[in-house]
Every structure is written in C-alpha cells, then in structure tokens.
C-alpha cells in the first residue's frame, strides 16, 4: 500500500482553508491539531461549546504546572491558555452563536461521509448508544463544514460512501473532505477530487472511495 499523509499533515492542509478573522470551532481528534498549523499572518478566533471565544493554544506538558487551569478548557477537555481579548459566555449563548450562523468554519471528525455530504460521526457501529455532544449543532449550522479523516477505516473499508450506514450527525452538511490521500469538494453534482497526496493516482484514490469521483480541471498535488 502507498504511503498516506500523517494526521498532522491533514491538519496542516485544513489550516490553509482558514481566513484572517474567521470564527472557528474545532472538533476532537485531527481537527484539534489544526490550531498548531495556522499560517503566519492569519488570526483565527477559536470558539468552544463550553463558552469561550478567542483563547490561545493548548497547554503543553512542559507548561502544565504553571498554566493548566480547570476553569479554562476547550470542548475536548484540554487545558487552553488565556489570550488578551478572549471572552466567556454561557451555553445557551454559545449555541446561539452556532445555531445563529456566527461560526464561519467547523472542522469535524468522521465515521462516514456520503457523496451528498451527509456526515455520520457520533455513533460507532454496534455500540447501540453514542455521544452527540455539540457536533450535531455544529454540523447543521456552521457556515462551512470541513471533514477531517483517514480515507479508509482501520479495517480497510471506505469512509467516503454512497450512503451512510450509521446514524447521521447531519444530512448534506459537509463542504470539503480532507483525507490522508486527497482533498475532495462536495459539489452539487457529487464529489470532486481537487488534490491528491504525493504519489497517488486518480485511479488509486477512486479504488478506495465508494462513490464515483469527478476530477477537477485543475487537479493538483496537495500543497501545504
């Protein structure tokens, strides 16, 4: 099997989608890593469901003693750092921001994503129960939804499918899918392959993708 991009590189590629001044909510997993790769000159304002905007990076292990504060965490339960200009608010206001369309971009993890942009990411097959958390409100209501994922499951099955077989987080919500082998846009007519990882051909990417991919006229190698 060909080499896939590490998770950090998926995060690095997604970071390039963010614009200066964007209000951004990061999901758990690969999405959390995006904050480490924001291009120079770009300031994004992070939003977290538990009621903070404009906070700084996650506290590192070295900084823990000095900086970790149980009253300054993100939605993944990570300790984050204070920044001048940040603010706090209660949960109903926090989701008012989400539902009201004030979040520019959310980056979410994936169990399955369909060719129509349906996202499933809250209940793993066979578990019977799941954790909805704040992901459903984000998927339905953020202005732009970017899905961050490995292209196939650990068992080798496609995660980009014709139709999701696990319960949906939200139908027709994903705008862009960034994986360890490709960048795929969810278009009106279907999925458009825009970028490929070094060494991968269109045919190889198609072979591990269930729905038919259209190929962008300006198809190119992933640039970081």
């Amino acid at each position: 099997m060909k080499e896939r991009l590490p998770r950090e590189v998926i995060a690095m590629r997604i970071a390039r989608e963010l614009f200066d001044g964007a209000v951004v909510n990061l999901g758990i997993g690969i999405p959390t890593m995006v904050c480490n790769f924001i291009p120079e000159g770009i300031t994004v304002i992070y939003h977290t469901e538990n009621g903070a905007l404009g906070f700084g990076p996650v506290v590192t292990a070295e900084e823990f003693e000095e900086r970790a504060d149980i009253d300054l965490i993100n939605a993944g339960g990570q300790f984050v750092t204070p920044l001048p200009g940040m603010c706090f608010f209660h949960h109903a206001d926090s989701f008012g921001m989400i539902r009201g369309g004030h979040i520019d971009t959310t980056i979410l993890g994936v169990i399955q994503v369909s060719e129509k942009g349906d996202l499933a990411n809250w209940m793993t097959p066979g578990r019977g129960v799941g954790n909805i958390g704040g992901g459903m409100d984000l998927a339905f209501n953020a202005k732009r939804v970017i899905a961050a994922t490995e292209h196939i499951t650990k068992g080798g099955k496609p995660k980009i499918v014709k139709q999701c077989s696990v319960p949906l987080t939200a139908p027709r919500c994903v705008d862009l899918i960034v994986t360890d082998v490709a960048v795929i846009e969810v278009g009106k007519e279907g999925l458009v392959l825009r970028e490929f990882a070094p060494g991968w051909t269109v045919e190889e990417i198609q072979s591990i993708t269930e729905p038919k991919l259209m190929v962008a006229d300006d198809l190119k190698e992933i640039e970081l």
Binding site: I73, F88, H91, R127, P171
Partner: protein, 249 residues
C-alpha cells in the same frame, strides 16, 4: 435581611424528595461542577431522580473522578437527559452500563438543543423550533415545520425542581459571578429551577460584586453554600490528581 447562605451542603439538599428533576452544571471534568452538592445528595439518598446534565458523569479529564456518576453507582437515578455518555465503549460510564441494562431511561439530546430547552424552561417559553436534528434519529416523533424553506424540529422546554450550580463568587442576595469556562450550563440552570443551590468559592459582602458584571441575578438563587478548604479535593491544580487518565496533554 435577605440571607440565602447555608452552613452545610447537607442542609442545602435536605428537602429533595424522591422523583425530583435535578439539573447539574457540568461540561467535562471538574471545572464548573457542583462537586459537594452532588456528594451531599448521594448521602441524602433521594431516589428515582431525573438528572439533566451535559454528560451522564464518569467522563472528561479524569475518568475515575467522582462526579455525578456516583448518583448512578448508588442507583438513585431513574432517567437522564444528556448529550454525552462516555468517551469509549471500552470504558463505559456507570450510566451507560445502566442504560444498556434497562435500569435507567436515556433521553439523548444535541447539546445546543439541551441548552435552549433549559433556557426556554427558565424564561417562560414552552417550546421552540430548531434546525438541528432534522433527518436524524433525533427527529423521530417530532413535529417538523419549515421556515424560509428550511426544516425545523419542535423541541420542548425542560423544567427542574432543583439546580445544582457552581459559581466563583456570591453575595448573600445570591448574585453570582463565574470564572472562565466554569460558566457553561450553570447560569441557565440557575435561572430554570424551582430551587437553585449555588456552590461557591467565596461569599462577599453586598456591594462588593460590581453590578455591571453580575452574570446570575440573585433572584434566581435560593441557597448558597461556600466550599471549605478541603485537601481531599484540590479545586486548583494538583497535577498528580488531574493528570491520571488525561488524554488532554
């Protein structure tokens, strides 16, 4: 003179009866969690409770942290209205096990819908429409209505008998301020319940809290208990205590 301060957590929860609906301020881990009220309720022993909280306990920074999961362990809960059960099927919380065994009823709610159901219950709005959940399992059995061409679900307010909230400072009138992300669900739960009990770090003199920064107006708070210094529960950081099981760093 209005004075809502009580000396002990035990007396603050003494009148809770079996079958009560209790909201608990909680997000993930110890921040903003009314830890001592939860422990007092366990000791008090009321059963058949309905718990409304972001998680069903046993989640977050430290999995073996004794949050409201202890109310499930002591079989005091009949129903839980929540958004999150446990981080992994290999590490199910007590609530998840009891739900799977049919011992506890689960109402799983998207987090924004939970927050708005609590807020609406607090402010006299019986129900509202939200786009979140249409076309998913959350929509089952719910009224759908289109606004501007977009489908919305009718969701109903929740009303609680008691709210356990965690705040930073209070005065004896019950005016509350919070600290950082401690705030989360606490202010809207404080507004909601018939009886709101606040667990606070400090109680200050009337007038010491700048009226411009009060988050929860005192009329929403019925009882206030100050946390005594307790070396067994480090409110501020003790790395060895919080770091266990933490995937955060």
């Amino acid at each position: 003179m209005i004075n809502k301060v009580m000396e002990t957590f035990e007396e603050a929860v003494a009148d809770i009866t079996d079958g009560a609906v209790i909201m608990i301020g909680n997000f993930a881990g110890p921040g903003g969690l009314p830890y001592y009220l939860i422990h007092a309720l366990k000791k008090q022993g009321a059963r058949n409770l309905t718990i409304v909280a972001n998680t069903a306990g046993g989640t977050g920074l430290t999995l073996d942290f004794d949050d409201h999961k202890i109310l499930f362990e002591s079989k005091q809960v009949r129903k839980v209205i929540t958004t999150y059960l446990s981080p992994s099927p290999t590490r199910p919380s007590p609530a998840e096990k009891q739900i799977a065994a049919g011992e506890v009823e689960l109402e799983l709610v998207p987090q924004g819908t939970l927050a708005e159901r609590i807020r609406c219950g607090a402010v006299g709005v019986p129900a509202f429409y939200t786009p979140t959940g249409f076309g998913t399992v959350i929509a089952e059995g719910k009224e759908v209505r289109y606004f501007d061409g977009r489908p919305h679900l009718l969701e109903h307010a929740i009303k609680a008998d008691y709210a356990f909230v965690r705040a930073y400072k209070s005065d004896r009138m019950g005016n509350l301020v919070y600290r950082g992300t401690m705030r989360q669900f606490n202010p809207i739960m404080a507004m909601n319940a018939r009886v709101t009990i606040a667990e606070v770090d400090e109680i200050v003199e009337i007038g010491e809290i700048d009226p411009e920064v009060v988050v929860t107006p005192g009329i929403f708070v019925n009882r206030i208990v100050r946390i005594e210094e307790d070396p067994g529960f480090p409110r501020h950081l003790d790395r060895s205590f919080w770091i266990r099981d933490s995937e955060a760093i």
